[in-house]
Amino acid sequence: MRVPNGVLAGRSILIVEDEPLIALDIHAAFSAAGASIVAALDSREALRLTALPDLSAAVVDIGLGAEDCCRVCKRLSDNGVPFVFYTGEARTEVLRQWPNAPVLTKLAGTKRVVEVVAGVLR
């Protein structure tokens, strides 16, 4: 499924990812889709950024730590911000709490992440 440029035009995406290179990559992918990006590389930053008013969606890496991750997800959920898990490890205790959130492993690739987020926002 090819995402035409700008499919996420006007959208604001929060990326929560502790590995800067990967954050860079995700950032580039969502930018190419027309979205504006805010990135948090640690949970403190992430919690702060969840308060942003115009967030369309978030991509959350569970690698932050289960507790932190849950707190971030809760905030997002409370604010009605849909999110997608993009992760290198499967922390079932976190995933279980948000069974409706799509889960993508880091093998899926950034293109796929963009697709899924676009799907969620449709």
């Binding site: 800067p20 290198g88 880091k106 093998l107 950034t110």
Partner: protein, 832 residues
Amino acid sequence: MSTASGDRPRQELGRTFPILPQSRSRDLDSVIVSADELTHRSSRPPDHAAENQALAALAREMAASPNRILQKLAETALALCRAQSAGISLLDDTGKTFYWPAIAGQWACHVGAGTPRDFGPCGTVLDHNAPLVFSHPQRLFTYLEDVKPYLEEGLLVPFYADGQAVGTIWIVIHDKTRRFDAEDMRIMTGLADFAAAAYQAFLAATKVRGSERRLRDIINALPAAVYATDTEGRVTMFNEAAATFAGRSPQLGTDTWCVTWKLFWPDGTPMPHDQCPMATAVKERRPIRGMEGIVERPDGTRLRFIPYPTPLYDEAGAMVGAVNMAVDITDLKLAQETVARHRDEQAALYAFTDRLFRASTLQDVYAAALKAIRQALGCERAAVLLFDETGTMRFVAWVGLSEDYRRAVEGHSPWTREVKDPQPICIADVAASDLPDALKATVEAEGIAATAFIPLVVEGGLAGKFMAYYGAPHAFGQAEIDLATTIARQLGFSIQRIRSEDERRRTEHASRLLASIVETSDDAIVSKDLNGIVTSWNKGAERIFGYTPEEMIGKPIVALIPPDLRDEEPRFLERIRRGESIDHYETVRRRKDGSLIDVSLTISPVKDGTGKVAGASKIVHDISERKQAQVRHDMLTAEVQHRTKNLFAVVHAVVGRSFAGKQSVEDAKAAVLGRLDALAETHTMLMDKDWQGADLADVVRTEMSPYAGRVTIEGPSLILKANAAQNFVLAVHELATNAAKYGALSNSTGRVDISWSRSHANGSGVLIFRWQERGGPPVVPPTRKGFGSAVLEHVMAEYFDQPPRIEFEAAGVTYELIGPLDDLTTDRGQAS
């Protein structure tokens, strides 16, 4: 016995003259010719020559053959008196009867007959004590009418021995051709003297004959066979026992040396008759003693005997022959052999029992049994068979049986296993038995003609059998069967004993093995009773928990259980009581020093002899290492998975961002490959440290190794976290690539100095990293910001509180990072 009584048969040889009551009808005198009348009869002249000749002959005869003298005397009387019959009358031992031992002439056929003493001519003569002539005496003595030819006249003369009248000598005329005269009287009176002498001789001979007869009676009465031969070996006499002994009637005159049919030496070799002990005795003229022989009768029966041949001599000392007594010792021999056999049997039984006592293996037992069977039962071949696990009768030991035979008859059993009191079965003649034809053929083909099956009972049940095999038909006696049964009983006991011992040894061995396993086990192996009291404690338990056996045996096992897990024990005991096991239950226990240890428990119920649960045995396996290893493994696996996924994402980022800019595909490709190489190097370092990190010093040195000689590297060892290491290598790679393209490493004189250090500021560690180029071409700040810049500026910035300081001074590029160590490393080492 009176003459007037009725019939009175004579016991002697001869006929009976019954005296009839009417015999007394005539007067005695009427039959006697008086002496007067006799003298008036014309008398012939005496013939002295004839008389002398006759008397001389008589005298010679008396000397030569005394036993014939009476007959001669009668013949002489007959001849001299020209009578028609002549004879002798003698009184028998009873004195009541005369008998006629010798008669010549026409009355010769009446020899052996006789007359009564008190009523007859002879008796009258003795009564009158004088010779008398009788004329027709049967007129008075009517019984004489039966004596033919007719008695016309008789002249009787008495004769005496030792003053006693013992008989008469008489002549008889049967017709009227002549009458006796005085001459006859004279001759006869003279002959009466001879008769007396003859009588003495006769008596002596009779005595001898009587003695001989008595002797003969004695010999006949003897139970032993007695016979005699002359010097040529011809049998001259034998007794009844000899005929029975020989089983035939010995032939006098033809049988030589022996009265028997066939003779054999004790060893069975034939003994020719002329070599028998009797023959030797006669030929060598000496008694033979100490020999034994076997006689075979015509009916085939045989006897064992001992002969006692002894030469016989006459009064002159000349050998006249020999006498032999053969004593039948068959029964004796049989008894001796029976005793000997009994002795042998006892010896065999004793030897057997002794060997059994010493036997330590079943093979010893079987060998002893086979030997005893063959010895005691006298068979050449034997075998022992037992039921195997499938209930099939199998050979376990044998002597002299072919493999074919064994294979053919294996499995055959005359009794079923359930039979309570199996009895021996004897087949005295296989050929005549009612065995099935196929089996019979097999048995006969093996050369077996008789066999016995003896049952073996072990622990009250039929366990097998032993067999005795004979090459010829064999009659089984009760004694043999009893012996075989005794052997079977012994064999049964011994098999039982050996099996018990083997069982015991196996059990002991198993016990010892088990005990050894328990002692040498690394695991704690502990047993407890149903109250949770420790009853055994192995070395492993001592090692794991720290308590010695003395400290734990007899104490409750709850001492090992941490307080918060105390309810495990009652739960376990509950299940154990029900007969259940607990298998690999993971929990925590406490050592003597109080430290906790992760363990895996396996608890099994222990039953007593009756099958009731009496306690439990517990294996405590220390799993702390495994748990640690598991944790480590899990962490490692998670880490690997994480890193792998991360790596793909990182590589994706590197490749994606490397091509994002406007450089040529060639340049982009070179850049990507260089960056991937750097990542690969770091990856190796991370793997070496199990993903826990990589040393900054290694990262820098490896990345700068192509430029060795133009680079100085100074800095302590510092283990960076995985992410940080990846990003650091990319950063150093960028710096080096830029320096090589545009900076200090692009000409021949430029150099790079890399250094880092750690220090403390405000209570936390700080890392200062510095890249300094010099001697390179004039520095021109880059216009484009590609991936490399992104790494150097943005990526690295995330690890430090402030962004890196990048200076493009004319002397050379400077890149400096200062930031908290916390994000970079877990290493809390000292400041350098």
